[in-house]
């Protein structure tokens, strides 16, 4: 009889090439390595300097997302920033030289790296997945162990398909109950981060469990796992189930026929054993969660959309005071009615079909307020085309929103899409750090529903008033 193990421990154990010791961390095998233009060029330079090859280009997949423009001019995407252009060219040259499949500009499979991995079926349960991007935690929604790595480690994986890793601790986040109308996966994860803090998950892999998690569709589960890093967690995971298998079935890179049946049979056992111990446990009730919005300069500074920002004298007052100053807000004030300059719907957190459907459902027959600019950026070209076929793009355009090509866009603001200094943006992205969306930009993170409601109102709005 083996010891009961958590989901994380099962995936970890199945990928250990050499156990860790006091002398060295474990050698952990990587099933899938996702690569993008921003964090890879220096890693390829190391390969060249040392005369190394990419060991497993078949387990490597590259795309262009962070610095790509989203505005097509004359039917073409033109990269205006010469430095970004050189970086994109470098990725193309590197992928060609090392035989890595690249979904580059003009490819229908291109998109945000964490959107296309699942979409193409490259992301599968029981895998280890890494990428030089902290939001790699997204793929944990499928029961994969997926985490972000630095550029040195990108080089390690390119050269060896392995990483040296110290085994993280485990944390259970159990959420039972039912999300109320107008409350989504984004609100749920913002509530989790508000509770445990932006460093609350440091050193841990979170497993999200409970009936509220089981009730989420795959896109909601991806939103939840995506923001695990915003609590400082190494990764976030959810046990695969019938919802997972139904979502993956038939995608181009998943097994077919008997191999699919066998895969599902094996994945069905990929869950935390009864009696397995977590190092830490946190419990929330879904019914108590309201639509959430951030008011400050980290994702833990979140409140119910109809609530008030902290009063002065609250704990963490120095940090709060800094945030108030940066955000131009007063202690104790309400956010409802706070004028909004920009609304951004998109990113690896909320740039998938369900997110666009939620926002479009609210925008239908309504209009973006005159004082507000709304940008809708699909997470991938496939999402873009599907949304166009389904009529969502028409709804956004008719409402006065801008409909763009896919990419990271205003989430990271290194591609021409920025929020101006001093402006307020309600954004479905994942980070509200100072300057994240542009120098001096003031970001309020929220769900697609809250973003859409705020676009209509031209001010922070409660989506429950528009359902």
């Amino acid at each position: 009889m083996t010891e009961p193990r958590t989901l994380f421990e099962k995936v970890w154990d199945a990928h250990v090439v050499r156990e860790g010791s006091t002398a060295a961390p474990a050698v952990l095998y990587v099933d899938l390595h996702l690569v993008h233009e921003v964090t890879s060029p220096q890693a390829f330079t190391v390969l060249r300097e040392r005369g190394l090859r990419v060991r497993r280009p078949d387990r490597t997949l590259a795309t262009m997302d962070h610095s790509t423009p989203t505005l097509a001019t004359g039917g073409r995407l033109v990269v205006l920033d010469p430095a970004a252009g050189r970086q994109l060219d470098a990725l193309a040259v590197n992928c060609e030289a090392y035989g890595i499949p690249l979904y580059g500009m003009g490819d229908d499979r291109r998109g945000i790296v964490h959107v296309i991995g699942p979409e193409l079926g490259r992301t599968q349960p029981a895998m280890t997945i890494v990428c030089g991007d902290s939001h790699t935690s997204t793929h944990g929604a499928f029961g994969a162990l997926a985490f972000g790595i630095g550029t040195s480690e990108v080089g390690h994986v390119l050269a060896t398909q392995c990483l040296l890793q110290t085994k993280p601790k485990t944390m259970e986040v159990r959420i039972d109950g039912t999300l109320r109308p107008g409350v989504s996966a984004k609100d749920l994860i913002l509530a989790v981060i508000a509770q445990i803090g932006v460093g609350g998950g440091t050193g841990h892999v979170i497993e999200y469990r409970g009936t509220a998690i089981e009730s989420l569709d795959m896109e909601g589960r991806m939103t939840v796992c995506n923001m695990s890093i915003e609590a400082g967690a190494r990764a976030g995971m959810i046990a695969p189930d019938a919802t997972t298998f139904a979502w993956l079935a038939g995608r181009e890179h998943v097994p077919s026929g008997g191999a699919w049946t066998a895969a599902v049979e094996s994945w069905q056992h990929l869950r935390t054993d009864d009696g397995a111990q977590f190092d830490r446990s946190v419990v929330l009730t879904a019914d108590a969660i309201a639509p959430m919005i951030t008011w400050g300069t980290n994702p833990g500074m979140a409140i119910p959309v109809d609530g008030r920002v902290p009063a002065s004298g609250a704990i963490d007052d120095a940090a709060n005071q800094r945030a108030f100053t940066y955000m131009g807000l007063e202690p104790g004030q309400a956010l409802l009615g706070q004028p909004v300059d920009v609304v951004f719907v998109g990113s690896c957190t909320n740039g998938r079909m369900d997110d666009l459907r939620a926002a479009a459902g609210m925008m239908k027959g309504r209009h973006v307020a005159a004082n507000t600019r709304m940008l809708v950026v699909p997470g991938s070209q496939r999402v873009k085309h599907a949304a166009e076929r389904e009529g969502l793009a028409d709804i956004f355009r008719a409402a006065g929103a801008e409909w763009r090509e896919s990419g990271c866009s205003m989430c990271i603001a290194m591609n021409g899409d920025t929020v101006a200094g001093g402006q307020y943006a309600v954004s479905t992205s994942n980070r509200n750090f100072e300057g994240r969306q542009g120098k001096g930009a003031r970001t309020l993170l929220a769900s697609p529903l809250t973003a859409a409601a705020s676009a209509i109102a031209g001010a922070v709005a409660d989506p429950r008033s528009y359902l």
Binding site: A14, V17, R18, A23, P25, V27, Y29, D31, V38, T39, P41, Q42, T45, V46, H66, S67, D81, A83, A84, R86, Q87, G132, D133, S134, I149, G150, T151, S152, E153, G155, H156, A159, T160, Q161, C162, L163, L164, T166, P168, V198, G199, T202, I229, G232, R234, N298, D316, A318, A319, R322, I412, A413, M414, G421, R431, F433, E434, G435, K439, G440
Partner: protein
Amino acid sequence: MSQPWGPLSSHAVLVARDDIDTDQIIPARFLTTTTRSGLGTHLFSDWRYDATGTPRPEFELNVPASVGAQVLVAGRNFGCGSSREHAPWALTDWGFRAVIASSFADIFRSNAHKNGLLTIALDDATLTATHAALRDDPHASVTVDLAAQHVTLPQGATVAFAIDPFSKRCLLDGLDELGALLAELPAIEAWEVACGR
């Protein structure tokens, strides 16, 4: 890889803020580079320069006492946010060899140690005393003995700090992890065959 991490004795720059994220350490608009060098110019760019690009005289890196400092002292949860290795590249390019905080984000710490930037986590009370001592005397010195795993702080206290033995050895010897992984290639190849990869 970096030089072997030798003894360090230096004055320190105090940026007494919690949750300093990687977007503050180096904003994303500077990530379009294809090299590792020269990023120190952009370190803490949005705090360091105003809208016209003029240094803000009150920011800690712009005060004369910070010149030549090799130690950065911050608050809790330093380096949270993205996986960008540009953050430790920017810090080391500016001249820092160690960051002292009460905790570090996982990816930042991993990236830092791969670039010759030591992270030292102190308990909250010791860190608070360090902040106070640096406010009193910005020229006060910090001495780090990595081999012995202790740091002598501006308040005069010498305290032990934790570091995983592998990172310690890599830092002290100037080794890089890629070399260690390449030495595992036979085991990796055997594992791939055994496990159907």
